[in-house]
């Protein structure tokens, strides 16, 4: 269970990433954020975002066209 959930369903690029950045700022280091999105490009976007920002993408999955990303703030 994530510490915080961000519902980014229905938002188009780049809003899911921008909203995630904002949510991560408010998390303590080690905290976890689950992001829900419907943007198909989000899978690769979140991989790249976590890689460049040093945060850990713990899980990436899709169910009924809703993408779910579990991110741990490590940076």
């Amino acid at each position: 269970m994530a510490d915080q959930i961000l519902d980014a369903k229905g938002l188009s690029c780049p809003l899911p990433i921008l909203r995630t950045k904002k949510a991560l700022k408010d998390l303590p280091t080690g905290g976890t954020l689950q992001v829900l999105a419907t943007d198909p490009g989000a899978v690769k976007d979140f991989e790249a975002f976590c890689r460049t920002t040093g945060n850990q993408l713990m899980e990436s999955k899709v169910e009924d066209k809703v993408y779910s990303f579990l991110i741990k703030r490590t940076a």
Partner: protein, 132 residues
């Protein structure tokens, strides 16, 4: 992770290019990449303070789609990039001069000042350069 800065030379007033510049700038900034945007030529009009979106944004077929589908506003994306990352916007001093504008004619809180092209190009030598 170390990433070279991104420098965007924004000259076009077309909605589609403004939107792409805003998207690149905001995404770059939140990905912890320093970004600088130099706004000149027709692009400067889009940053005039207090104008309505219908006046600010004009373009082709995709511009109409952006409006119809309520895509994220370009000015708002620039603002979010500044809030969440290292993003600087510079107004071209020549563009302001030929308009007879000072920086206060531009959207509040977006611009870090006026700059000449020489300085911008000099700073951009160490980064990735994109022109829109």
């Amino acid at each position: 992770m170390s990433t070279s800065p991104l420098y965007i030379l924004l000259c076009s007033g077309e909605h589609e290019k403004l939107q792409m510049a805003a998207m690149m700038a905001s995404v770059g900034a939140v990905s912890e990449r320093p970004v600088e945007v130099f706004v000149s030529m027709n692009a400067i009009f889009a940053f005039a303070r207090g104008i309505e979106p219908a006046v600010r944004y004009h373009g082709g077929a995709f511009s109409r789609l952006l409006t119809e589908k309520r895509a994220p506003d370009a000015i708002a994306l620039f603002r979010q990039g500044k809030e969440l990352g290292d993003l600087k916007l510079w107004a071209c001093s020549m563009a302001l001069d030929v308009q007879g504008w000072d920086i206060d004619r531009l959207e509040d809180g977006l611009f870090d000042g006026a700059l000449g092209l020489t300085k911008f190009l000099s700073d951009a030598e160490g980064g990735q350069f994109v022109t829109l």
